[in-house]
Amino acid sequence: MTTTLFLVAVVIVTALFFDFTNGFHDSANAMATSVATGALKPRTAVLIAAILNLAGAFLSTEVAKTISGGIVNDAFVTPTMIFAGLVAAILWNLTTWLFGLPSSSSHALFGGLIGAVLVGAGVSGVNFTVVVSKILLPAIMAPLVAGLAAGLATYCVYRWLKSADQEPAAGWFRRAQTVSGSMIALAHGTSDGQKTMGVITLVLITAGYQDVGTGPQTWVIACAGLAIGLGTYSGGWRIMRTMGKGLVDLHSPQGFAAETTSAAAILASAHMGFGLSTTQVCSGSVIGSGAGRQLSKVRWGTARKMVYGWLLTLPAAAIFGAVAAAIALTGPAGVIIVLAALLSGTVTIVTISRRTAVTSHNVTESRDVTVQFGRTPVMAGAATTTPPTGGIPDPTPIQPIIIKQAAVPPPATDVTTTGPQS
């Protein structure tokens, strides 16, 4: 029984940690455009988003009844597999955050679970057709739908309002952005906050600490809401920079068009039975709002890397999840090893991120998120407009591992987040 209690405690803590990474990954979705156009100050933006996320967690009564929405067979899922899946999702979320890539937290969680279940229960535990219909297809459609809508809306704004970028019109759009960004944050809280509550509640029921068929307890709702709220407040500035500055140079009418599109798409997909990933909707909207004004002004190189990130999310998290499950399923010692790996991985990633820190102070100063391993800037964001604050001055000659471009920085500003461009 003590082993069960230990496992339940570990899963709950891990689930809350995942919720935290979910929050800072997705605060960019709601607020990156508002921060980029100057509609809201960075700290104010994440504070609003955090409060609305917390409120959203309490508002919604519809808690996820299944962990994965049918992607894995929940009957086979044990708390240890959930733990392995959560660890994989956290590590993938942190990795993509390090590179400033917006990627779907739900996809990371599904991927981690798929990997864990494949190891723990075999191929029959995963419903691959549901993977296609609920993950792959929406992943393709979400950015297309959002991009089209945001593109048309932006086109109309600039057609009807020649001076849209100038005061006082721009001021109106900035004020409207405050509202549209808040809508996204609230909608996000009502959906993503529920996922962690669902996971914790299911684990409590499985372990016999809670009656079957009862809803989440108040402390679970409060903890999940606080975790996602704190995560949102911490900002995820690396991702916010890519979303707000890396893809398009946004002006407030574009920001308003993008945010309205995202809010509309999220609400439509939540109420009409075709789930679209918030992250992919929001990224598609931003690209659309750039393309609707001037197609050539979208930095397609960054967009392409983002798409690679999306494609990688599920398989990468699945591999992490499989490895974590293989170790954790050996017993309590295995669980402790995975936990230790999670902690050391987190510390490592956070340490690397500190070298080229992106904070609320410098989030809009540059378009690029750079990553520096040791003294060797592997992923060189060359020729940034400002050198990244907090970066360690590099006394030795730069020795690029992957990219040739880094040795001779091109004059253009567009070598961005994640390495070589083809």
Partner: protein, 75 residues
């Protein structure tokens, strides 16, 4: 494998329609208000101002409907 193409089409159509309605009305409203500000005086300016605020109000109403959809306690 069942893919709910109908739901997908509906989501796409509603997203497009709602976005264009809100953003379109809002920018028409802003266009009216800013041009009224330039004109400043006369009955034409007043009419434009009222029309501008009406556009903003309608787009705000659509946003309030979105809020109604988000909060399950309302329905």
């Amino acid at each position: 494998m069942t893919i709910n193409w109908g739901a997908l089409g509906l989501v796409a159509a509603v997203t497009l329609a709602a976005t264009l309605a809100i953003v379109g009305l809002f920018s028409l409203g802003v266009a009216a208000l800013t041009s009224a500000q330039r004109a400043r005086v006369g009955p034409a300016g007043t009419v434009t101002t009222v029309a501008g605020y009406a556009c903003l109000a309608i787009s705000a109403l659509i946003a309030v409907y979105g809020l109604y959809l988000i909060i399950p306690q309302f329905h």
